[in-house]
């Protein structure tokens, strides 16, 4: 039977505790959520992502007040009203644009940290999969947002990306027309992508972030040596006052203070970009209003989609689409394609070490090539790196299966 003390002062600690179990909540979610000591600043990237998402939400709310989702007015509502008339409208727009770009940089760092340390194995598979769901939803969120200013790049990126859904030779034009609500991107298209961008996808993202955190709670985060820590035993040491000996620290307040420090450094970089270097996040071609009768001379997506776009480009239509689809989903399968039981930094896992660095270099190379026009030597290089990407993933189960056991420390 629940017990409610009739004399407890309303909203006092005791009163709240009887009704919401705030002490238990705080213990389970923060003061006794244990984090290994043996980690570095890369483990703060998750928090950096959460906070950057917060910035996107906040700046988005202010943009939403003057943005008009109408093909005739959208361009001016952004480029004139918000940028020139609304007090500090430019600030929200710059924050929103810079955060949308930087969030992908941090996501890639966060992903490659996970790959490097093997943080997708031994109970952490769902962390990885929920992370990939976040990646895909974030991509959709970025793409839908890119449509909203209804500039030349919005229009033509919308045209090219929705055409992917004709599935090559299957010629599913009905699907493309259904997604657009028209034969070409128009009002119906802008309206639905506006809805997706400001409501449905952010809701999904919030749900997925909660799920991502949930998947972390039981396996806990990995550490620099892939060591399997007995969290209960180590936590007892900490609670018994043997803080030097314990291999773990509580999330709150000890680890959180480190997160906040990294966040502080990140914000310096972030607001430097917002105030002094925001141009990189806004494509000059998108400062021309959408024109259905004129394709810009060179269409490319934002930098964070370039690597997968480059995998599409060098092949004929159908194989290109298959390669592109492969690139979009293959990361989901990482926990099952890596057949080695080792959870250790890539540098201690022999053939995997090469695999990791080759994949990283390959994706950087594809990103650079994606920005260059598809001519001559660039086409050749693009083809080579696209094949390398595919081969690396096919080879992964074979090279990890042979891998020798490496103990993490102890």
């Amino acid at each position: 039977m629940a017990h409610f003390d009739p004399n407890a002062r309303p909203f006092s600690h005791k009163w709240l505790n009887e009704r919401l179990a705030i002490d238990t909540l705080k213990r389970v979610l923060s003061t006794e959520y244990w984090i290994p000591k043996n980690i570095n600043f890369l483990w703060a990237m998750g928090m950096v992502l959460a906070v950057t998402f917060g910035l996107l939400l906040l700046s988005g709310i202010f943009l939403l007040m003057y943005y008009i989702p109408d093909t005739k007015q959208a361009f001016d509502s952004v480029n004139y009203t918000i940028m020139q008339e609304v007090g500090f409208g430019w600030l929200w727009r710059h924050i929103h644009a810079v955060a949308a770009s930087v969030v992908f940089l941090i996501i890639y760092i966060h992903m490659f940290t996970g790959i490097y340390y093997g943080s997708y194995k031994r109970g952490r598979e769902l962390i990885w999969i929920s992370g990939m769901l976040l990646f895909v939803t974030f991509s959709a969120e970025a793409f839908s947002g890119y449509m909203l200013p209804w500039g030349q790049m919005s229009y033509w990126a919308g045209m090219v990306i929705t055409n992917l859904f004709s599935m090559g030779s299957l010629e599913w034009n009905w699907l493309v027309e259904w997604i657009r609500g028209d034969y070409v991107p128009g009002q119906a298209f802008l309206g639905r992508f506006f809805m997706l961008h400001v409501l449905l996808l952010p809701l999904v993202i919030i749900g997925l972030i909660i799920f991502h955190f949930g998947t972390l709670r039981i396996p806990h985060v990995n550490n620099q040596d892939g060591e399997e820590i007995d969290f209960e035993a180590e936590a007892e040491k900490w609670k018994a006052g043997k803080r030097k000996e314990a291999k773990v620290i509580p999330f709150n307040p000890v680890f959180l203070s480190k997160d906040v420090f990294v966040l502080g450094v990140y914000f310096i970089f972030f607001f430097y970009l917002v105030f002094y270097h925001y141009q990189f996040a806004m494509d000059p071609i998108n400062f021309d209003p959408a024109d259905p009768l004129k394709t810009p001379p060179h269409i490319y997506p934002e930098w964070y989609f370039l690597w997968s776009y480059e995998i599409l480009r060098p092949f004929p239509k159908d194989p290109g689409l298959i390669a592109f689809g492969f690139a979009q989903v293959i990361f989901f399968f990482l926990p099952f394609l890596d057949r080695s039981p080792n959870v250790a930094p890539a540098n201690r896992r022999r053939p995997f070490r090469c695999w990791f660095w080759l994949l990283l270099i390959d994706m950087v190379a594809l990103t650079i090539l994606g920005k260059l026009p598809p001519v001559g030597i660039y086409t050749t290089l693009g083809t080579i790196f696209a094949w390398l990407f595919i081969i690396l993933w096919i080879a992964l189960p074979f090279i990890t299966k042979r891998e020798k056991l490496v103990g993490g420390k102890k």
Partner: protein, 179 residues
């Protein structure tokens, strides 16, 4: 007792499932193109004043339509896939009076960019992924998998009505040449 619960549970599930299906169908229909969009009209173009080897672009159902009076010598300067025949002899061209015209939807069959016509080279080049077409819309360089699409048309004198299937269009379609 438990039988009754099972039955109630199944019945509830079935009703909820039906409701969900209905809602899904409504959601699907909400995303369909509006009737006004589908009923988009016809576009009439007079080609009597067209100049040779100059590309005209008309708008039809929100899409650009290329109209090009093809010159007698329409051999492309170079064809990366080796098919550098004179495009003037191509069966996809449409005869209006004594002239031959290319009439095609001006969207690259790869992913829908608008290719640009280079009159001196007698070919279209798509800037997006480097696809090329000759003056009859045939592919000279991948990734586009197929020629530029010919929209439904009807010829009335020197006028071209886009959106209506005339005998010339039906004939091309029967020969499998429109897409």
């Amino acid at each position: 007792m438990s039988d009754r619960r099972d039955f109630i549970g199944t019945a509830l599930g079935a009703f909820a499932g039906l409701g969900a299906l209905g809602a899904l169908y409504a959601a699907k229909r909400t995303w369909d193109p509006l009737p006004s969009v589908k009923a988009a009209g016809f576009t009439t173009v007079d080609v009597s004043k067209a100049e040779e080897n100059v590309l005209y672009t008309e708008m039809w159902r929100g899409k650009p339509v290329f109209i090009l009076k093809v010159p007698k010598d329409a051999k492309p300067d170079e064809a990366p896939n080796g098919r550098d025949e004179n495009a003037y002899e191509d069966p996809r061209l449409i005869k209006i009076g004594n002239d031959k015209f290319l009439v095609a939807i001006g969207l690259c069959t790869h992913l829908g960019c608008i290719p640009e016509y280079f009159a001196a080279n007698k070919k279209f080049i798509c800037a997006c992924h480097g696809g090329q077409f000759n003056a009859a819309g045939e592919v000279l360089k991948a990734p586009p998998p197929s020629p530029l699409v010919i929209p439904p048309f009807k010829i009335v004198g020197t006028q071209l009505i886009l959106g209506e299937e005339g005998p010339e269009y039906k004939q091309l379609k029967a020969q499998g040449l429109v897409a």
